[in-house]
Symmetry: C2
Subunit: 449 residues, 2 copies
């Protein structure tokens, strides 16, 4: 029942394109859901994809275009001339059209806009002004709007006109004579109302949630998620209704946000796909590796100060990786918890102090458990003196790493910096260096060297 793209099916499609076997394509491909067709085109080369795309119905072409992988779509759009592209954009929702338009050079934007219907072109030009990561940049201008003073019968007539353009209708927006948003109307209530009922008597005016064009996209996501909305009206600074944002666009924001934290924690800059070029991939990763190298060099300096001690007791060097790794791991754990609870807005009023206190207690507990284990192991493998050194150092390192791991993202957040930069390589590196210093200092004191 569900469509699943198999390797065999893909090969059959490729063969049919090469042989120009349109009969097979018509029966097996053209009738599929646009998202499924896009999944197929993502796997084909540009020429094959274009062959299929050109044979789709006009309406379906636009839908398929929006479902393509971004890189595939960009390559595809580049092969269309201004007139062809203008036609495609006219068939898209305005938020999707402006996404594609925004990727083009200014010169090409002008060419494409010149080929478009004047009214639609004006709308897109307006939308282009909003920053991509704001409500204005996410919104579409297709929505259903009725006036407070209307009766149900007039609504239904107007709706019929508007609904042709609006693909998915979730909520009807109610505005006053000045076009200011005053409330909502559910399709359900309209369906059950008498023809001469006044909108005033059936609309919802309480707790109407909207965002303004300059609301950041992450804030829009937070609001839609909090209030379980599938669409949200967007108003300008005068409270006039100018657009709506639907949940499918917000799901992308939510996922990107979550993935950003994951990438940061893994030491990869944002916005690089696995199929990007080697050079782009290299550039995305090198900064984090340089942080690691810088930390490694600092670590070498720290250890360098203890050269004589290592010469006397080489066994001290054995546990360098353990101490460094544990400091890094504990720091990342603590910072990840803080980053996540900041992102989720949980316990927003617990103070920095109470957080740090909790992590400190946790650090002591985990530090103690780890210290006991490592003491027994080191005693067994080496000497009790080394056991005391390593376990005492480990306890202190874990304790400090937990505190630093908590404090740094909290402080960054307080000063408006994305705390996610503190997880991953940054905090690992810092805790490595601090950990080494603690370890050798403890070693020096205990061995008296």
């Amino acid at each position: 029942m569900q469509f699943e793209l198999t390797k065999d099916f893909l090969e059959e499609i490729e063969k049919s394109v090469q042989l120009k076997n349109d009969d097979f394509l018509t029966s097996a491909v053209f009738g599929l859901h646009p998202a499924d067709i896009a999944e197929i085109l993502d796997e084909l080369n540009n020429a094959e994809a274009k062959y299929i795309f050109e044979r789709l119905e006009r309406d379906k072409q636009a839908d398929v275009l929006m479902e393509l992988d971004e890189e595939v779509r960009d390559a595809f759009v580049a092969t269309l001339d201004a007139k062809q592209l203008a036609l495609q954009l006219e068939n898209l929702d305005s938020d999707d059209a402006v996404d594609i338009l925004g990727e083009l050079t200014v010169q090409r934007q002008l060419e494409v806009i010149a080929e478009m219907d004047d009214e639609e072109a004006a709308e897109l030009v307006d939308l282009l002004n909003y920053a991509e990561d704001t409500a204005g940049g996410l919104m579409q201008t297709e929505y259903i709007q009725v006036k407070l003073s209307w009766q149900v019968k007039r609504c239904i007539i107007e709706l019929r006109k508007q609904a042709e353009e609006v693909e998915k209708v979730y909520t009807i927006y109610v505005t006053d004579e000045e076009n200011k948003l005053v409330g909502l109307l559910s399709l359900k209530s309209l369906l059950f109302a008498e023809a001469n009922t006044r909108i005033e008597d059936i609309y919802i005016s309480e707790n109407v949630i909207s965002v303004t064009t300059n609301t950041p996209d992450e804030e829009v996501a937070r609001i839609m998620d909090k209030y379980d909305l599938v669409s949200i009206p967007v108003v300008d600074l005068q409270k006039k209704l100018v657009g709506r944002i639907t949940i499918d666009d917000i799901v992308d924001v939510i996922r990107e946000e979550a993935e950003k934290d994951f990438k940061m924690a893994s030491g990869i800059s944002e916005n690089v796909e696995a199929n990007a070029s080697i050079w782009r991939l290299s550039r995305a990763r090198l900064p984090w590796l340089f942080i690691g190298m810088f930390g490694g060099i600092l670590g070498a300096q720290v250890i360098g100060n203890f050269e004589i001690q290592i010469g006397q007791i080489p066994a001290l060097a054995f546990f360098i990786p353990l101490v460094a790794a544990m400091g890094g791991n504990v720091g990342v754990q603590s910072s990840a918890v803080v980053v996540q609870s900041i992102a989720n807005g949980t316990n927003q009023f617990s103070t920095i102090f109470s957080r740090v206190k909790k992590e400190a207690v946790l650090g002591m507990l985990n530090g103690f458990i780890c210290a006991v284990v490592i003491f027994l192991v080191t005693w067994l493998l080496e000497t009790p003196m080394l056991g005391i050194t390593v376990s005492l150092a480990l306890f202190i390192v874990i304790f400090f790493a937990a505190i630093l791991g908590t404090l740094i993202p909290l402080v960054l957040h307080k000063y408006g910096i994305d705390p996610a930069v503190a997880t991953g390589p940054f905090i690992t590196t810092m805790n490595d260096v601090v950990g080494l210093f603690i370890y050798f200092t403890v070693g020096m004191l205990i061995f008296g060297i």
Copy 2:
């Protein structure tokens, strides 16, 4: 316009509760959106929260209950007796009610169910049978259903009955006489149709997407995301319609999935909130720390084999943290990219071989750049011989770490294991040990010791 919970407002609420100042609470709190009230209750203590909760309208109570933080809600539910809880559950959507019911002991479940209306109780008992992480466990039994053979006027009469129970109507499901799902009907088309139009003539039968009760929740999320759906019908194995899943529940699945990867990469077991008890937090983190310790002990064994060499050239020890950290960082980067592209289903047909080849080239490139930098630094700070040793070892370590970091999650995925376990502490630890072995072997060969 937007509600924002400030510290001052919260203190005012706390004071009003203590003074039993219901006037203030009525004007400032009780009229808020359920999600906002829940946000307030999350910050209060149990007794204060209960004071406010008990004074809310019955309908609002249920909505507020569902919006509470899970831990707060559990504590809250524990204070209700079976009869009170049964009343709350009857006001909830079935998917939410079963979530709360599922958290209780079997004894308490029986008590609560005994207090409920028979029909609703039977529905919940059915729903309890589905695994939480399947479509059956996510679905609600409230949906709008019409028969293929009906006319529009009959639909509207039936809808009026059904719609009372269904809070949000997105799509109407069309079934045949055997209750099998045959298509969809948009509210829009119903609104514009004549009273005696037959459903057969206006329903959508093409590309109707549904899931079965045993579809895993992640798969449901993937499908709803791919096809941009706000709700999806759930059918049983005989294709009979049994429920629907709405996007708000799926947003949670998507976020949890993304957060799970982040937590794994940061070395934290799933499902532990920042405000959990110290013991639970400790237990969630210790396994990863033990992996790190085990790696550190292995690392100590590796270095231990080179005790004599370190005694001769203690400077070799200086760069242990650098080599270990870089292996870990590169491995995590490579594995994170693989984990993400598996999760997003991109390039599903590129072979393991081509992936590994790309990461190997990337590893060589980044390894070469890092090696040149570290050679210059080490030469400056120490000796050219050490410079050659560290830079050559670093190049090899980065190269191997990139390959291992790519290969391990791909292989895990092939054998049906969640590749996310391979990121974070696991891969860091492994690359630490391998890296140390490479480093000292290179050092031995170059210094001829």
